[in-house]
């Protein structure tokens, strides 16, 4: 299978991030690991792009974040630990419904529904 990257991911990244946070709080790199794991290595995301998505989610109140207390040797640079909020969980559920509808409609047109 071909990797999924760039434009194909656009519009879904935020919902996918929310979905990874449903498994518990995490920093950026851990979120990427979870995405990679869930995408069976087929997701090709430029890692820097994750952070603007997290900032947008935070501004919308869908995730919360706190700085970790210790930089763990990363030359003084600390990570932020993100967690899902109630609003984020609601948005995730809406995103899942929209996706099911999308797959059903487009899949029906393409004759590719299972």
């Amino acid at each position: 299978m071909e990797p999924i990257s760039g434009d194909k991911l656009r519009g879904h990244l935020e919902t996918m991030v929310l979905s990874t946070l449903e498994r518990g709080e995490a920093h950026g790199l851990e979120i990427l690991r979870r995405l990679e794991e869930a995408g069976c290595g087929l997701l090709r995301l430029k890692e820097g792009s994750l952070y603007p998505a997290l900032y947008r989610l935070e501004a919308a109140g869908e995730v919360e974040a706190d700085w970790e207390e210790e930089p763990h040797g990363r030359r003084g640079a600390r990570r932020r630990i993100y967690r899902l909020t109630t609003r984020g969980l609601q948005r995730l559920n809406e995103g899942r419904s929209e996706w099911r509808q999308f797959v059903q409609v487009i899949g029906g047109i393409l004759g590719a529904t299972s």
């Binding site: 950026g28 030359r75 600390r78 932020r80």
Partner: protein
């Protein structure tokens, strides 16, 4: 990780973050988080590839195009943050220019506060002329000394701020002594200037002390922390050549 590798990672971060039109605090937070990410990725790649150059190249590849990331970061900045951005730009130009000597800044502040005093005086003189129907001779005679005191206020503000900023960095007996000397020196000079012009009285002395030493000292205290952060940014990030 050697310092040159860390610098190259910082350059990657700075290429993406520097052009973003956002307040200094938001950008500082972006820098720290992106650097923490890149450092962790680099260590992961170094462990896998065993070669620093290859690990750096792979880290940059995973990070993505900094110019593209700039656009995405910009889109994540709330519109209201533009106000913080403009205030920071103004502060960079007028209030604190990293690398500028304290003497030069004191002179600049003296000119700025002198100009502000002149503007205030002109408004007051025009108001008095309107009320009295003539230029008040007593007030005109006092213009030059008031301008001098106004300019001196700028010098005191700059010296107090520089001294407090140093004190924030190193709380030594010497730093405290320097601040005490500046406060005492400023008090003596401003009282000599003011009381020589307006005549000696306790009330005038107290007002002069408040306007030329107390007020600048409080303002300097508020500015010192912000300027210290700007100074640190310049040393750590602003001086990086990102082109």
């Amino acid at each position: 990780m050697n310092p040159s590798t860390l610098t190259r990672l910082k350059i990657l971060v700075e290429r993406a973050v520097r052009p973003v039109r956002a307040g200094a605090a938001r950008k500082a937070s972006m820098r720290e988080e992106l650097l923490a990410h890149l450092t962790a990725v680099f260590e992961e790649e170094l462990g896998r590839l065993g070669d620093e150059q290859a690990a750096l190249a792979r880290t940059a590849e995973r990070f993505g195009d900094p110019a593209e990331l700039t656009g995405q970061l910009q889109a994540s900045v709330p519109a209201l943050d533009t106000i913080d951005y403009l205030i920071d730009r103004l502060a960079d130009r007028a209030a604190f220019r990293p690398g500028e000597s304290t003497l030069r800044r004191a002179l600049r502040y003296a000119l700025l506060s002198g100009a502000a005093t002149l503007l205030l005086l002109l408004v007051m003189l025009l108001g008095l002329r309107g009320a009295l129907g003539e230029w008040p001779p007593h007030a005109i005679r006092l213009t030059a000394p008031v301008l001098l005191i106004g300019g001196y206020l700028g010098v005191t503000l700059c010296l107090c701020e520089a001294s407090l900023r140093r004190l924030l960095g190193e709380r030594t007996g010497r730093s405290w002594l320097r601040l005490a000397l500046i406060v005492v020196g400023s008090t003596v000079v401003s009282l000599a200037l003011g009381l020589g012009t307006f005549g000696v009285s306790l009330d005038r002395g107290l007002w002069l002390f408040f306007f030329t030493v107390g007020f600048p000292l409080v303002l300097a205290g508020a500015l010192a922390r912000g300027f210290a952060a700007r100074e640190r940014y310049h040393e750590e990030w602003g001086s990086l050549q990102i082109e």
